[in-house]
């Protein structure tokens, strides 16, 4: 971190502007991944459903927004709303199938869905343009505010993150949230007290997916381009790593996990590895830090619950 700060403050103005742009870029990515982390934590951390398919919903939200913005001419906010609805419908259908599974089988089932959705992004070329991706996605303009500037887009991303955080906090602090935790602890036992746990699991799965869809819409609009390579199974595992590292069943943990995993590779750029092995060494150090954290802090940085 010292290296980062030193290099940040000891540079000419032009370079400083570039570095500021770079920090804003990281902050926007952080906000998007924090939303993804929170959305998955509701499902995995609070309800105990080991879902490995969040990048599919992230992708559906991104593609829906990209296609609607570039092909139908409707504005950003309606595109986002339609994207949320499409993501919710797809997640509802997936949830019905996944409700047949428990534990490891649930994880494997969700894993399968991630691959199916990725294949659709890649192969439904008439709609998604396949590996070519969809370019030219516009940034939003609202009340005269042009979000094409990254600084203003950052505010939008942070406001949406704050809204998602407070909605999630309301959910987990409600009686509904308490039932989710009871499902995580012992689903059969809570059923005996008259709960239809299927309805609870479906509801939180769809809510989590819709939130990931919002993150996807933000991403598509920010990068102005989407292609399937962003929404792979690796991305789902990365989102899962955010919540495990930050802390399961802790919303602040998701934010902290996103901050840590977005910043860590960037910080490692300044460690001074020889250029020919820098990329590989960063991956190694990154992996070692994750393993050490899991060994000595398995509940994550601020978590309340271990998988």
């Amino acid at each position: 971190m010292d290296c980062l700060l030193y290099s940040f403050f000891s540079v000419p103005k032009e370079s400083l502007r570039n570095k500021m742009e770079y920090l804003i870029h990281l902050a926007i990515l952080f906000a998007i991944y924090a939303i993804l982390g929170i959305s998955l934590n509701l499902v995995v951390g609070y309800t105990g459903l080991l879902s490995v398919t969040q990048s599919a919903f992230y992708g559906i939200g991104a593609y829906a927004t990209a296609i609607l913005l570039t092909q139908s001419g409707i504005n950003f906010f309606f595109s986002v709303i339609l994207g949320i609805i499409i993501t919710a419908i797809v997640s509802f259908l997936m949830g019905i199938v996944l409700s047949k599974f428990n534990g490891d089988y649930y994880a494997l089932g969700s894993f399968g869905f991630n691959i199916i959705i990725f294949s659709i992004f890649l192969n439904w070329q008439d709609l998604t343009r396949g590996p070519l991706g969809i370019p030219g996605i516009s940034r939003p303009i609202l009340f005269g505010l042009d979000f094409s500037q990254n600084t203003i887009f950052l505010f939008l991303a942070l406001i949406i993150l704050a809204i998602i955080y407070f909605i999630s906090r309301f959910i987990v602090n409600s009686s509904f949230g308490r039932v989710l935790k009871a499902i995580r602890e012992d689903e059969k036992a809570i059923q005996v007290f008259g709960y239809n746990t299927f309805n609870y699991k479906m509801m939180i799965f769809v809510i989590g997916a819709a939130m990931a869809g919002i993150a996807g819409a933000l991403f598509a609009s920010y990068i102005t381009f989407v292609d399937p390579s962003t929404f792979t199974l690796n991305e789902s595992i990365f989102i899962l790593a955010i919540i495990i590292l930050g802390g399961l069943a802790n919303l602040k943990g998701s934010i902290l996990g996103a901050l840590f995993l977005i910043l860590l590779p960037e910080i490692l750029r300044f460690v001074g590895f020889p250029t020919e092995i820098a990329a590989q060494m960063r991956q190694v150090v990154y992996g070692v830090i994750l393993i050490l954290l899991m060994l000595y802090r398995p509940q994550g940085l601020v978590g309340e619950y271990k998988l």
Binding site: I171, S174, S175, F176, R178, V179, K181, A182, R184, E185, D186, K188, A189, I190, Q191, V192, F193, G194, Y195, N196, T197, N199, Y200, M203, A249, E304, Y305
Partner: protein, 249 residues
């Protein structure tokens, strides 16, 4: 007195093991009915089938006059049944108070989402936790309680069931005294007596014959999934075949 629960030709097999084998029995309303038998005789399987935790292979129930073939765990509260578990099943990573409040919540998800726990629920949870001696532990995680305290919390949670789903009529108590210190056993005993005074029906699985004699109005003895004997405790416990089932030939 009428029969509140009838079990008709119930069978449950596990890979050829006949845990419950063509069992029929009748439970009278407002009475404490003991179910005893050696380990592996099918007592807990019977309670698990009755509470929908595992499906039966054959047979049906008549609860309050209504014939029920397929019973699901989520429906038993609405049939007026609640239970405790032999292997304690608390919500371990939740506080003692949350273990209580979670059964005092509206059942539909949207209702639960918009609900704020009112003072009535908190008072109810407090009353029960005080009764089982756990109010001071209300902020502890359930997993951090001692075995006996966990057992008491499970009984407390069972008592709290009534608030939203309606008053339970039938309490299934699967070895509620096992592993309890004497002062804790006294608390459970007084709760059972209090429920009986309220006219509740209880099915008590227990190995302590002193407690069976003291608490039960009627007992069924199970062995290898079948009914071995039934009647008033004093008469049944003196029967040669019952003593043999427990102690061997």
């Amino acid at each position: 007195m009428k029969n509140i629960l009838e079990i008709k030709n119930l069978s449950k097999h596990f890979d050829g093991v006949r845990a419950v084998d063509d069992l029929s029995l009748e439970i009278e309303e407002g009475k404490i009915t003991g179910i005893i038998g050696p380990n592996g005789s099918g007592k807990t399987t019977l309670v698990n089938v009755l509470s929908g935790m595992i499906p039966q292979d054959k047979g049906f129930f008549i609860i309050n006059g209504e014939k029920i073939v397929k019973i699901k765990p989520r429906n038993i509260a609405f049939y007026g049944i609640t239970r405790t578990f032999q292997d304690i099943r608390l919500f371990n990573q939740m506080t003692v108070l949350d273990n209580m409040l979670v059964v005092l919540t509206k059942r539909p998800p949207v209702g639960a989402l918009l609900e704020k726990h009112n003072q009535l629920y908190l008072n109810k949870a407090k009353d029960i936790l005080e009764k089982v001696g756990l109010w001071e532990k209300k902020s502890e995680l359930a997993i951090n309680l001692s075995y006996g305290q966990r057992k008491l919390l499970e009984i407390g949670r069972m008592l709290a069931t009534s608030m939203v789903t309606g008053e339970p009529d039938i309490f299934l108590l699967d070895e509620p005294f096992a592993g309890l210190f004497p002062h804790m056993a006294k608390i459970v005993e007084s709760i059972i007596k209090e429920l009986k005074e309220q006219g509740k029906t209880m099915i008590l699985i227990e190995h302590n014959m002193g407690l069976i004699r003291e608490l039960c109005d009627y007992i069924f003895v199970m062995d290898e999934g079948k009914l071995l004997a039934e009647g008033e405790p004093e008469n049944v416990l003196a029967k040669k075949e019952v003593i043999e089932a427990y102690l061997g030939e």
